[in-house]
């Protein structure tokens, strides 16, 4: 399977006018035509997944991912209910949503899938999917916009999505459902009188579109805070969609951009923009902000360590990386298999070693390559005080590390024949570990032995010793 990629990105407006009333205003009609053109482009690209980040789906408990395979209902806008109703029946890739959710957790994020009959799909997503996927052929996934999230969380969430796009070989289109300036007229206006709310909003919108037409997406992302201050009504704490879209495109400034339309919708700035990943040959970039791979949590702003089960633990994990055992470069004796995508050993040994048609892995834990962070949190702090941790997140991370090493050896998970698992707290953790096992390695079917032990070299709760039969 070839590695997946983002084959195109689009910025699209959120209000229902383009679906319900394009004929009432020439500008709305031009936006509609641009949406139709975008739909044709997506079809020509033979995309097999639409990924929507919607600014009109707010969430509080992390991010939410739509995982109902076929959500059906009728959407009526809270403001523009007199324009009519939009009946929807969408094709959602629930499997991708669950994989993205898992990838989020592995990068330290809080997120969850939602699958409930009658869940109110937001207006931005309904408009985008109705017009960009009119035949409902291409499966989609929708993610919410967390009201408290800032740049790092939003960026890492995009990278988690990319992890899944790549590993599943998808040809995906990334879409942000958003306004540019979002200040609407606060009074009712005739459709024919619509215009951008103010000259200032219009000037900023045009500057954003100038950047996007030059493919300078990361520059717009780095202007997000300024844009929020200048032309955004403060419904949320930050202007996030450009952070997400930029990260989905590798934080690049050399995309090929095209503005398909820019018009007012009740005063707000609505635009349809196509961003093609083909390098434009221009657009040097100068980062003002650090890149980020892993979400460090809220750094104890709200909760104590006792009550925050997720973010706090992760921070502790990050902080503890320098106090753990020394990390070694993997050894390279004949038949050794080593990879940068697995955590470094804590001694002189390789990640794996091939002997004949057998592959033996060294003990694999949940530590993350590069950061050494422990998904689900460490089991104790630097002083050795016990901490709460998530055994399921740790087990998922172990399986993912196993997969990376196996794939580096050119083998597949289906070739695993025997696993020995070590748990530091059998009573507490067996059920959670066993649940993840059933969802992952249990589907492959190796023999298994699970042992309780006193401790492991790093503050982790689970480690696996894995053997593969590679066959002829």
């Amino acid at each position: 399977m070839s590695e997946g990629e983002i084959v195109a990105s689009f910025v699209v407006p959120v209000h229902p006018h383009t679906v319900l009333a394009p004929e009432q205003n020439p500008g709305w009609s031009r936006l509609r035509a641009a949406m139709d053109e975008a739909a044709n482009t997506i079809k020509e690209l033979e995309a097999d997944l639409l990924i929507i980040y919607s600014t009109t789906w707010p969430s509080i408990i992390g991010h939410q991912l739509q995982a109902d395979p076929n959500p059906e209902w009728v959407m009526v806008d809270h403001d523009f209910h007199d324009l009519g109703s939009i009946h929807y029946s969408f094709n959602i890739d629930a499997q991708f949503a669950h994989a993205w959710n898992q990838a989020n957790h592995e990068r330290g994020l809080q997120s969850r899938c939602v699958n409930y009959k009658g869940f109110p799909i937001d207006v931005g997503s309904v408009v985008a999917l109705t017009l960009l996927n009119p035949d409902n052929i291409i499966p989609a996934v929708i993610v919410s916009s967390n009201v408290y999230a800032n740049r790092s969380e939003t960026t890492v969430m995009a990278k988690a999505c990319l992890d899944v796009v790549k590993s599943t070989g998808r040809k995906a289109v990334a879409i942000t459902a958003m306004s540019l300036s979002n200040r609407m007229f606060t009074e009712f206006i005739e459709a024919g009188d619509d215009r951008i709310h103010s000259l200032k909003d219009d000037e900023w919108n045009r500057k954003i579109l100038e950047f996007l037409s030059e493919g300078r997406l990361e520059d717009v992302g780095q202007l997000s805070r300024t844009i929020q201050q200048q032309i955004r009504v403060r419904k949320v704490v930050a202007f996030k969609p450009m952070w997400w879209l930029s990260a989905m495109n590798g934080n690049r400034n050399d995309l090929t951009g095209q503005v398909l339309a820019y018009e007012a919708i009740h005063g707000a700035g609505g635009a349809v923009v196509h961003l093609d990943p083909t390098p434009s040959g221009q657009g040097d970039k100068e980062y003002d902000e650090d890149d980020v791979e892993y979400f460090h949590g809220e750094r104890g702003v709200l909760d104590t360590a006792e009550t925050n089960e997720n973010g706090e633990d992760i921070v502790e994990a990050m902080e503890s990386k320098s106090s753990g055992p020394e990390l070694w470069e993997p050894t390279k004796a004949e038949g050794s298999v080593n990879t940068e995508s697995a955590p470094k050993p804590v001694g002189a040994y390789p990640h794996a070693r091939r002997v004949g048609d057998m592959l033996f892995l060294s003990g694999v834990g949940p530590r993350q390559p590069g950061t050494n962070a422990i998904p689900g949190g460490p089991i104790h702090d630097k002083e050795g005080e016990p901490m709460d941790y998530d055994i399921k997140a740790q087990t998922h991370a172990v399986v993912e590390n196993v997969r990376r090493i196996v794939e580096e050896a050119g083998a597949s998970m289906e070739q695993i024949v025997d696993v020995t698992t070590f748990l530091v707290d059998m009573k507490r953790d067996f059920a959670g570990y066993n649940e993840v096992w059933a969802e992952t390695l249990g589907l492959v079917g190796p023999t298994r032995t699970t042992l309780a032990i006193d401790a492991l070299p790093t503050p982790i709760a689970v480690e696996m010793k894995v053997i593969l039969h590679l066959g002829q």
């Binding site: 408990i61 967390n146 997720n310």
Partner: protein, 300 residues
């Protein structure tokens, strides 16, 4: 007509957790309990008003958010399934509510005459927001009184708390005039929390009360300050400090409900009754009654 009156005004918050914890037949998820302090508070509120006759409930919910004017539910009946987009795991409620369209239109017209942008919502496919459903259920689980439901205009986001408050005070005066002219006896409800900073994580068991507390001491202090003003009959001080309270406590008063309520009650200078206070995923929630009927009897 004339002769209408407000018999009570209440601060009646709408966290869906309270409905979830109660396990009514209309709600799909099932809980083991939780948030009893607040649910008992709602019980006390209902008991307090049990002997008071009234014709309709007028309610402003911050989860019907409108940016273009204030809107009113404008059809006699709404029946559907309300799924909370933020806590769908807790709230999937089958509702069937009736609207006092005449009173809604009367308030609409009175506000329009005052120069406010208003609109009747007459699309039968419209789904009523979960804030309205939650407060409606907790205040009147029998659903045997018609409602008037006002949207929350988001002028705080557009302009400032001060501008929001000016608009809501005007809307409150229009509401009061329309009620008085209607000849009806009415209860008015502002459906909002006080401090409103949520936790961003949820316990594996959402009703695990060992995890529940206010998000910060500062939020607690602000909530207690506001409750003291309510209990001391100093509504004007609440309005005076609304900008600081709303911004520093990230209060849900940003939706205008509390300002509208106090204006509708003519800025009461008599003590309110605190029926309950508690936190829900870190937010501060008070159930408070201004007993207009008693105040009138005592002063007549």
């Amino acid at each position: 007509m004339g002769g209408g009156k407000i018999v009570a005004g209440c601060l009646a918050p709408h966290p869906p957790h309270l409905v979830y914890a109660e396990n009514p037949p209309q709600n799909e998820p099932v809980a083991e309990g939780g948030w009893e302090q607040l649910r008992w508070g709602y019980e006390r509120l209902r008991e307090s008003l049990a002997d008071i006759e009234y014709d309709a409930i007028v309610l402003l919910s911050p989860h019907w958010q409108t940016y273009v004017g204030t809107h009113f539910l404008g059809l006699p009946n709404f029946k559907s399934l309300s799924v909370d987009p933020v806590f769908p795991n807790l709230f999937r409620y089958h509702y069937d509510l009736s609207i006092d369209v005449d009173l809604a239109k009367a308030i609409h017209d009175e506000a329009q005459a005052s120069g406010m942008p208003v609109k009747m919502m007459e699309n039968p496919d419209f789904r009523v927001d979960y804030g309205t459903i939650t407060t409606g259920h907790l205040f009147n689980p029998e659903w045997d009184k018609p409602l008037v439901v006002l949207s929350s205009n988001r002028s705080t986001a557009y302009y400032s708390v001060e501008v929001m408050q000016e608009m809501m005070i005007e809307l409150g005066k229009a509401t009061r005039r329309a009620i008085e002219a209607s000849g009806k006896r009415v209860v008015v409800l502002a459906s909002n929390s006080l401090s409103h900073r949520h936790f961003t994580t949820e316990s594996e068991l959402p009703e695990d009360m060992s995890k529940e507390h206010i998000t910060s001491h500062a939020m607690h202090l602000w909530d207690m300050r506001m409750i003291k003003y309510m209990r001391d009959g100093e509504a004007q001080r609440i309005l005076d400090e609304m900008p600081e309270f709303t911004e520093q406590a990230i209060a849900e008063s940003d939706g205008g409900g509390l300002s509208w309520l106090l204006s509708t009650l003519d800025v009461p200078d008599y003590p309110a009754i605190l029926h309950g206070y508690g936190t829900i995923i870190g937010t501060g929630n008070a159930i408070v009654e201004w007993p207009c009927h008693k105040h009138e009897e005592e002063n007549s």
